[in-house]
Symmetry: C2
Subunit: 333 residues, 2 copies
């Protein structure tokens, strides 16, 4: 490892001068600067980030808490996060969130990160307050189920989105609409479910508890859940189903195909995210466009404001769009 001392010695200046050059201070004679730059070049010197962080109390790293790296909805958001973070010269340090290991986050991120971006997780108050105490900003993409004063978020207006989707289905003639979501109560799908129910009510439609299908994870579990449901009783209590995640909707599509249920003939299916795949399924999938990249950008902008300017973040919502495609049509009969 080449240190600043080595550079200083090599260039025949003091360690301070090397720092000045590295940090672009304007108080260094051009000649000296060149000498130092040459030394840096010759030795292949790069400042040690750990040492720098220790001294400056800035890490230039932002933590990102995933739920599932394999979910293209979440990676789509990260794509936005990553691009924007790069512009700020910030590195992202990714962690998959596992509730039973939540306490580890405190040590993992200690002195490692200037702020943390969540993806809808409802952290334990104790954890949140730990970070609050040490002034580490938390900001969430996707509104967490459990609200906490220290964690503001950016999301779309799910109530409005669900209302549009439900109204769309209703206008086609659907009155019995099912819903499929991740079973975890603190999962971000829960927010979608709550708003779906409200939208149903506002539309004068009744939602029946047995029309809620819970599936553990993503595509495969949705496929299994739907297949089993159909096999148990091919007569479904709804003519359309909304899936909290697009991957789930694709699993449902696939299950219907394999079980001989025609979509959209026998059942209309809708998703909630507009991941790329949804325009390439057969049939193409009606869904809500979630502006992943833009929201990723805004999340980074916001947390950077918190970190560098001490901005007080607020909850904000971003526009969505209802994408009507082939998977939703008038119910038969």
């Amino acid at each position: 490892m080449v240190t600043r001392d080595d550079v200083a010695r090599h260039a025949g200046v003091s360690v301070a001068v090397v720092s000045y050059v590295v940090n672009n201070k304007n108080n260094v004679k051009e000649e000296t600067r060149q000498k130092v730059l040459r030394a840096i070049e010759e030795l292949g010197y790069n400042p040690n980030m750990a040492a720098r962080s220790l001294k400056t109390r800035k890490t230039n790293q932002i933590g990102v808490l995933f739920n599932n790296l394999g979910n293209s909805f979440e990676t789509g958001i990260s794509l936005g996060l990553e691009q924007r973070a790069r512009q700020y010269d910030q590195s992202l340090i990714f962690q998959t969130y596992i509730r039973s290991e939540e306490h580890k986050l405190k040590s993992i991120f200690s002195g490692r990160t200037d702020g943390i971006i969540l993806m809808g997780q409802s952290l334990k108050p104790e954890t949140i307050e730990h970070f609050a105490k040490f002034g580490v900003p938390l900001y969430s993409v996707l509104k967490p189920v459990q609200d906490h004063a220290y964690v503001r978020s950016i999301d779309i207006d799910w109530y409005d989105a669900m209302l549009k989707l439900v109204e769309h289905l209703k206008s086609l003639g659907h009155h019995k609409i099912g819903f499929m979501a991740n079973a975890m109560h603190d999962h971000y799908h829960h927010v979608r479910f709550l708003h779906f129910r409200q939208a149903m009510e506002a539309s004068g439609l009744e939602f029946e508890e047995h029309s809620l299908l819970q599936a553990g994870g993503y595509l495969e579990s949705a496929y299994d859940r739907m297949s089993n449901r159909i096999k148990a009783n091919p007569k479904l209590p709804f003519t359309a189903i909304v899936c909290a995640g697009d991957l789930m909707a694709i699993g449902v599509l696939s299950a219907c195909k394999d079980c001989g249920l025609s979509v959209p003939g026998d059942l209309s299916v809708a998703g909630c995210e507009n991941i790329l795949m949804t325009s390439h399924t057969t049939p193409t999938l009606t869904t809500i466009h979630y502006p992943r990249k833009e929201i990723g950008y805004m999340a980074v902008d916001t947390i950077m404001g918190q970190i560098h300017n001490g901005d007080e973040p607020t909850d904000s919502t971003f526009g969505f769009e209802l994408m009507i495609r082939q998977s939703t049509v008038k119910p038969t009969g």
Copy 2:
């Protein structure tokens, strides 16, 4: 921020003792240990990782170089990396690799990472030698196009895989086989392409240059490329096409559908990765199963061996499996 000094003062012991306790040294009286633990608890203390890294010269962070966070093949590998890294208590710091910004990696990772896992990138020799000089191990999932003595890799045997795939198509009666890949010459698709050509030759089939379709990125660009190709001349010079990436294959499927070309009736299509989606397309996709998670595990195991035991890594290959599904059948006519 609570420091070790605060804890020491609060517990009425010296700073060293706090360190002993934190690092589970066995030379601390049980009573003192309890006192310290209580102080840690009460103050909400967590060791500052930056400071610890500086002293111990271990960061417990591993860099991961992505090409595209939006590609589920790559995120599938990361899923394996992440899971295994967690077991070693290592954090992953993700960077999207951009060739024109490659030099930045040196500073970004300086003092930040104990090793770096690549995903098939051919780094510039200068960059590789920089990390070699400072003893930062580099290890690649996916064999890079450009070989370098310092960068060993784990991958499947692409020649064998392509041979199996080509033989499968040949046995169905295909003699003209097209190939679609990312155009970048240093992209990991290139490795697949080279082995495909060898496999064609070994199978006694001729590969014609105009049967190589290059598409920039992933699903959408593959879709565009294929659509344009069909529109330009619906009579394709091949009866089957192998796509270097599954997402590309899905794009091709979609393009064929939209252009009125039937798969597998008019054209057989195969992929190379077996991402989850490939078993849910219409038709389901013949592809090569790439054991992403297992390879991710092994990559972490290997680099941990390099980091902690100074192991000399070697190139290794992992088993694959040919997944024959609906998208490849006997050519008509």
